[in-house]
Amino acid sequence: MSLISAFIAVPVLAILLIPFLNVKGKGIVLFAAIVVNAFLSGYLALQPLDGQFLEFSFPGSLVTGPVNLRIDALSGWFILIINFIFVTGSFYGLFYMQAYQKQTNNITLHSIVFVLLHTALISLCTVQNSLVFLVVWEIMALSAFIAVIFEHGKMATLRAGMNYLIHSHVSILFLMFGFIWVALKTGSYDFNSITTYTSQNSGATGLVLFLCFFIGFGIKAGFVPFHTWLPYAHPAAPAHVSGVMSGVMIKIGIFGIFRVITLIKADYYTIGLVIISFSVISGLYGVMLAIVQHNLKKLLAYHSIENIGIIGMGIGIGCIGLGTGNYLLASLGFAGGLLHTLNHSLFKSLLFFTAGNVYQATHTVHIDHLGGLIKRMPQTTILFLIAAIAISGIPPFNGFISEFIIYSGFYYWMQGSMIGPLMAIIFSVLALVLIGGLALLCFTKAFGIVFLGNPRQKLDHEVKEVPFLQLLPLYLIAFLIVFIGVFPQIFMHALSQPVSLLAGLPAISDMPFPEKTTELLQPVTWGIWMFILISLAVFGFRKLVTQNRKASVEPTWGCGYIAPTAKLQYTAGSFVRPYSKLFRPFLLSHKTQKDVEGIFPSGGSYETNSYDRIEKYLVDNPIAAYKSLLGRFLFLQNGKLQFYILYGIIFIVSVICIPLFYDQIVLFIDFIKQI
């Protein structure tokens, strides 16, 4: 209990203190507050992962009823992820924000909302009262909004922020609908009432309620077609904010879905199929659009959508296992989903942080303007490469482990299934493989164009590596990425509690999960170790054989052409051109082209921009229609004060008169009914 008071006191103190300090002090207090809170909540979170269940009850108020805090294994797992990313992210942010240290007020606000965001996210994992949950959810949404619009001088940033804000509120609308529904029926705001309500009612109620929550949480998580805010908000925010947003804030949506699964008693089989369908579409659509992006951070944002799809596939398999009573399948699915949540938060935040380094050094994130950074920023390059290989789901890094578990889930589900599920499985596997292949295409593009080759643009400032301290948290994340890839069993062991909670297993001793996954993952680990050994052996041999050989350095072979320039290099657009030609039906791209003319031509240019088809049809077109409808009433707003006073009078008169006419209206309606 005292820990929880401390947990609340620390951010309050920090927020009170931050405005009175200088910029450096603000940073230190911000970091200290996050570290202290991370330790406090991390201590509480570790216990449920070890098998203990923590519950605290606060009297609450008349409106909310008693407020329960429960920290179960699921909360514990997410709290630890949030803490790790926030600690590394805020440490990175200390250095990243140095470029903005003149904007004192702005930084004050930014520091405050960063602490608030951390506190809100952790509270969301523990609060079990729907009313308080919604309030905290709103705090999270608003503080993230302020964090996103840090550079609010830029119009694009402000627009992205508004876009995010509106999406967040659509999300909260769905959540509110679901919570109010339950509260209305049961009279209690406690999460447990969801369980009692759905278990008393028919399956359809549970399903509709689940869909309500799924859309609400899905908007936050970025499932297609609710993803449209993500590609704007992530690039607009400062690098550490986008890393934290993509790493953990969208995961709170995933947490919500997990939490709802533990609470709702419904037809899990159908729920599983619904989640899998959304996930397959999200995964494919996300990566398909990621490839054609030319803005590095936007590309990464679309990859978040893809990875949410992969996580969703795991959750879907888990639900199907629950629905069919197959505990092993449920364990595999949930374990894959939970582990991929951790993995994605690691490599995605690392990618955003390295993209931040690139932005700091070159002042651009346009892929086609970059190139050759490997020579100027070797450490950033290696970190980005590790994350890029990991996100493509390739061994020996962590992305492979979770994808492997999800694949195993699919193939395990296959045994003994009938024709319907088999079709679902085969197309999900097809999607998962395609996602992997497309991610490879995308990250070879991003890495190859940004870091390799020669610089494509001459920059008027020196491009240099960021200081070592700034790279330190990045190395820590990279270490974990490698560590999970090489020793996944340790993390599987930590997962056994959350998974058994989700899979609804009666007791730990009955769990098929730890033995089966060790059985499953142990040889994979051997494979990874063997691969590393073989690589080292070949390296050693190569070194031994070639050490006395002459190695000369010449220009790149240009097929006889002897005056190569950096402009001759392949660009991102050309690298993915065969792909974008094939996938044209799914993509929307605009070309702006200026042809070369004349005998001594000059100044030709060619540029492509891509756009999101779902966004066009689901968001833009309805908004345009709505605007044109409202445009018809524009004459009312004519700017003359007299008219506005007239409207006021009309309003007051009608308010007074309608009750007078009420009886007549009722009579009239009755009269019509009689006819």
């Binding site: 492997f404 292949g437 890495f447 494979g527 010449e554 001759l568």
Partner: protein, 301 residues
């Protein structure tokens, strides 16, 4: 262990046989069957030339590419006898470890900053992406048919019983061989012998590699052919005892190699822009295999 030795032997001859068949088809005598090996040994002894644009990526990529192919080779079984490493879902590991090699070779091509190599890299990435689903669905169908998710158990449980299963094995051979062609960038996907960089895929990616590194890349290519050949052999040998299956291995590998030679002699390469569609057709062929497996199991009601 057995599969490892057999694959190594087959790899030594495979490309030689292809070249020999091609020469004979065009009326020449052609080089000896071991000539590709001698070429590789010569390359191993040579010095290197690095492009001044390149970085460490270019230098580590061939090694990792080679190591990934060797690692993939270690999980391939031979009939009843397991590969060095065998576990549930090893075919997933097989495909993904090869993908690591591909990732590195693609970025090493982009490391040179050459427009030609970028072109090859772009094509390789796209083609291998389209080839992978076919492999996974093929393996999925076999898993469904046999109830195992492990190379060795799947192959050894694969009984050639009904007519449908013969058809499946032949379709499987087709798919695996075409994947091998894509992976090795041979006809009809790519013609390694055209001397125009614009029309090549894999060869253009390694334009700047030389010496030991080039030797590693070439060796990896030879191994890859033999690995896919071994997978094809595994579709057929099932429960045969070793005294039959080992000769069968070599016969099938030889038939495949000469088949590749014949195809390359008498067929033109597809249009580059249509390759991707063609490769994706493999996925539909493997879907056919999947439906065949459903038929055999009587899942269609």
């Amino acid at each position: 262990m057995l599969s490892l030795i057999l694959i190594l032997i087959a790899a030594a001859f495979f490309t030689g046989v292809i070249i020999r068949v091609k020469s004979m088809a065009s009326g020449r005598k052609g080089p000896g069957i071991l000539q590709p090996l001698f070429d590789v040994f010569r390359l191993f002894k040579k010095g290197v030339v690095y492009s001044e644009t390149t970085s460490f990526v270019f230098q580590i990529a061939p090694t990792i590419y080679f190591a990934s192919v060797v690692m993939a080779m270690l999980v391939v079984p031979f009939g009843q006898s397991k590969g060095i490493l065998s576990f549930d879902g090893d075919f997933i590991f097989f495909a993904y470890i090869l993908a690591l090699g591909k990732f590195l070779s693609i970025i090493s091509a982009m490391d040179t900053g050459s427009s030609f190599e970028g072109m090859g890299a772009s094509r390789e990435a796209l083609y291998s992406m389209f080839a992978e689903p076919a492999f996974f669905i093929l393996m999925g169908s076999l898993a469904l048919l046999t109830g195992h998710t492990n190379f060795q158990e799947m192959f050894s449980a694969l009984h050639i019983g009904s007519y449908i299963s013969y058809a499946l094995a032949i379709l499987g051979t087709f798919v695996l061989m075409m994947i091998a062609m894509v992976e090795n960038s041979r006809m009809p996907i790519d013609d390694p012998k055209t001397h125009l960089e614009l029309t090549m895929v894999h060869e253009v990616m390694i334009l700047d590699n030389s010496g030991f590194d080039l030797g590693l890349i070439l060796t990896a290519g030879y191994l890859k052919f033999a690995i896919y050949g071994a997978l094809v052999v595994n579709l057929f040998i099932g429960v045969f005892p070793l005294q039959y299956s080992i000769p069968m291995f070599f016969v099938i590998q030889f038939v495949l190699a000469s088949g590749v030679g014949f195809i390359e002699s008498f067929m033109a390469r597809f249009r580059m822009s249509h390759n991707a569609q063609f490769i994706f057709v493999l996925t539909s062929v493997s879907l056919l295999i999947f439906f065949g497996a459903l038929l055999i199991l009587g899942k269609f009601v």
